[in-house]
């Protein structure tokens, strides 16, 4: 029990620091701390399969993606949080609403026939599998659509006055020469 208390306290502290940190890179690293604490909590609860997936996806993939995105963005732009007076009462009201709606549903409902994880996931949750496949395809298509360089979205290159002068100069010469030709 003490282990869960310590791990949840670590997760909460890391979460607060991830929100409060000014630099984006620090926020990403604090988020990795939250993920590690959550992974250890899942392992202590016996959910070993999902703990491994959480460790590999959240701590590995998401952290690497965040660092990559921060480096792509360029400067580690600092963020100054906006504090409004109604933020904390709003969060407290929403939490009370969620707790009031979910906690009464968490009453133990007797013995349930429990298979292993593979049987539960592949045979009883087929709709979830299909939804995950659709989500992965949507994610790939979304990233391709957002990050692929297309000619229509490229901004037009700026043309300087020095580059424009050689094109306009012959036109003025031709206009000036035309009256002479007519006189001849």
């Amino acid at each position: 029990m003490l282990t869960e208390v310590i791990l949840m306290a670590v997760a909460a502290i890391c979460g607060i620091q991830a929100v409060r940190a000014v630099r984006l890179l620090h926020s990403a690293l604090w988020l990795a701390g939250v993920s590690i604490a959550v992974t250890l909590v899942l392992y202590s609860l016996g959910a070993t399969t999902i703990a491994v997936i959480e460790l590999s996806l959240s701590v590995g993939l998401i952290t690497i993606l965040l660092v990559f995105a921060i480096s792509m963005v360029g400067a580690d732009s600092p963020d100054q949080p906006v504090s409004r007076p109604l933020n904390i009462p709003f969060v407290a009201a929403m939490l009370l609403l969620v707790i009031g709606l979910t906690v009464p549903l968490l009453v133990p409902q007797g013995e349930a026939a429990e298979d292993n994880f593979a049987v539960t996931f592949w045979q009883q949750r087929e709709a979830d599998v299909l939804a995950q496949i659709a989500l992965i395809f949507a994610g790939v298509l979304g990233v391709l659509g957002l990050l692929t360089e297309t000619s229509s979205t490229q901004p037009a290159p700026e043309v300087t006055r020095e580059q424009q002068q050689p094109e306009t100069a012959p036109a003025t010469i031709e206009v000036a020469e035309k009256p002479e030709m007519e006189q001849v």
Partner: protein, 101 residues
């Protein structure tokens, strides 16, 4: 109070931290981070609910779906942030009031 109740309380705390972050943060990448914190709370709540009802595998499979959706949301959000930074030069969501289609 059992360890499951402590973890459930921690899940609600993570949910609150993420929601508070969404309210105070203006940077788009940090919004993705706050969403990640919220989703971790929801995922923990799924696993705890499964453990309380003696259906841990069902809770794990639901949590796996949540993790997949959360990862896709993070990837799309970060790609969107990179694209917006390239086009507008800022990640401040308060600057996005004049969206053009």
């Amino acid at each position: 109070m059992t360890p499951l109740h402590i973890v459930l309380a921690g899940a609600f705390i993570l949910l609150g931290i993420g929601l508070y972050g969404l309210l105070i943060i203006r940077n788009m990448i940090k919004i993705v981070i706050a969403l990640q914190i919220m989703v971790k709370g929801a995922m923990l709540a799924f696993v705890v609910a499964g453990s309380l009802n003696d259906q841990l595998n069902l809770g794990q499979s639901l949590a796996l779906t949540v993790i997949t959706a959360d990862t896709i949301v993070a990837i799309i959000g970060l790609a969107l942030a990179i694209r917006i930074q390239q086009r507008r030069g800022t990640l401040d969501v308060d600057e996005f009031i004049n969206l053009e289609g």
